[in-house]
Symmetry: C2
């Protein structure tokens, strides 16, 4: 830290070696005799030496840090992802620098700047719902910084992607709603531009189609801010309720939207599931405690964080340019509870 920090030079002086020798001894260089190594290492350990990571970074142009770009920390899904990332990063000697976009493209861009000035070794990215312009990210990537996408991914950059099986999850939930007797299933989802939005929508459409239920575009509602703003959720639900044929079920596409919709139905004293059934993507820890217990599709968030971090660190540390990128698709889990069973 500050006071009690011994440097290589200190050791060198104390033992009458050169700093190069000390450096090499500590890194177990083959050119150093065992005897010297022992002396140096013993002294280092006794005096609680630890390399100054900042100096190492400057020299090596590696910071052993990973930048993290996501929407919001106080969000069950992302908090779990972070925990997964941290578990891997910790073991590999990396630390993570977290930035939140709050679903704002502009903030995301500024965060990217900050991260690049910090000279992070790589980036884990989940895009904001506003993001249209990938040029900054592309520039950084082509500048040699490895990137791994998770959750909200983009094909504009050729790299690894880690996502949940959104299509399958959405498909299974929608199918469940249909089999539960619902026919007018609305879908409330995030910004249209996001990968998760189109994938979840695809699963929804697939299930409807399979059961010969026509897809009604008016039943698909987008929340441009991904549900960060409660009002946008309330507005679209109100629109649905005002329709001539209001939906008999809601399939909600994210943590915030699911909880927000559920809360709004509560507030409006709409009986769940009798009047409207509901189920959606949600990583809330205890949906079974809700009133009624809430049907959810759970994403393997911790796992997603772990996988993304592993892939990124591998990219960072690989000697040769990786060209064979993979899209990891992690399975989701459907938990059917009372909120969706008519």
């Amino acid at each position: 830290m500050k006071i009690e920090s011994i440097t290589i030079t200190d050791i060198a002086k104390a033992l009458n070696f050169s700093s190069s020798t000390v450096s090499r001894a500590l890194r177990d260089s083959y050119q150093i005799s065992e005897a010297t190594k022992r002396i140096v290492k013993d002294y280092a350990k006794k005096n609680n030496y630890h390399p100054n990571l900042v100096a190492q970074s400057l020299k090596s142009n590696k910071s052993k840090s990973i930048g993290l770009l996501l929407c919001s920390v106080p969000n069950n899904f992302f908090a779990e992802v972070i925990s997964g990332i941290e578990s891997i990063a910790y073991n590999s000697g990396y630390h993570i620098i977290i930035t939140q976009s709050h679903e704002s493209q502009e903030r995301e861009a500024r965060n990217l700047d900050h991260l690049s000035w910090r000279s992070v070794d790589g980036l884990l990215v989940s895009l904001s719902s506003e993001t249209m312009d990938m040029s900054k990210l592309q520039k950084i990537h082509s500048g040699g910084v490895p990137i791994v996408f998770f959750d909200r991914v983009s094909d504009c950059i050729k790299t690894h992607q880690v996502v949940a099986d959104n299509i399958e999850g959405a498909y299974r939930l929608t199918k469940h709603l249909i089999e539960s007797g619902c026919r007018n299933i609305a879908h409330i989802t995030s910004s249209p531009g996001l990968s998760i939005t189109s994938e979840r929508r695809e699963g929804y459409v697939k299930a409807l189609t399979e059961y010969n239920i026509p897809v009604n575009e008016n039943y698909i509602k987008y929340c441009p801010h991904g549900g960060m703003i409660m009002e946008e959720i309330e507005v679209v639900i109100q629109e649905l309720l005002n329709m001539k044929q209001p939906p008999d079920a809601l399939f909600t596409a994210s943590d915030r939207i699911t909880i927000g919709s559920f809360a709004f139905l509560h507030k409006k004293n709409i009986r769940i599931p009798e009047q409207i059934a509901i189920g959606g993507f949600c990583n809330f820890s205890s949906p079974e405690l809700f009133n009624p217990s809430l049907t959810t599709i759970r994403q393997p968030a911790f796992e997603m964080g772990k996988t993304a971090a592993e892939l990124l660190i591998a990219l960072i540390e690989s000697k040769r340019q990786e060209t064979n990128f993979e899209k990891k698709i992690l399975p989701t889990e459907l938990f059917v509870r009372k909120s969706s069973v008519k």
Copy 2:
């Protein structure tokens, strides 16, 4: 980042100045002519120069980073705290390095090591429930690293503390339970050593005493792991249920314990609040959606993070040694809902 990064030396060469001049011009030194400043700054901006923070860190022995020591990220309370910290840090040019102790003292100690090797400028600390030994933290502190405690604090180190008004919150909730007709109020709480534990307990005792209800030590149950392990919650509740006079109410002392207890009562088909009322500290986002809606004391977690970060950054950047430390006590909010009203 890597490729497109211009250095001061590059600018100096391009403009035929010395690097000292360029450095001074960029930092607006009074010794540099306006003309030169303009030339240098224009060139810097045009070529997208940004100082290499690693080099600055090495030189200045300041990393513009803050270490964060807490139990667990995927926990509503801490996630909100992190968000608060981030909001302040971001604006002040600091980044935060997050480490999780998972309530383990040993892991906490290793995290401290890692953070100190990273030469963080300061530390925001919420102790793990196991932590007895403060010597490492003390050493770091006396080594000159500013520390601010939040939530789970300790008086072993003289510094700022930011906490919720635990006594008052616990007092009001307990009082509410009493007024709601409960007489045998059990208290399920974290590890006995934690500051939050003794404070919340104090509020609980205060309310009981005020109503001439004897304090029954058997009604106070500790979870050494702070409820990280579901089993420890189940065990103590089962003990309570097995008593000759089982409690008619539970006052639970943390996010995890509150949710865990509620879930266990559910599982055991115990009617809430008729058989047992329940209420507790909890920063869950939607306790009103629970079945029944859950009475909670909410801590101003975001605010706590902000305040702690502000205090820490002030400490870091203050020239003179601070001696006048304060304990910020932030108000809590009691939300009475159905789970506690007999």
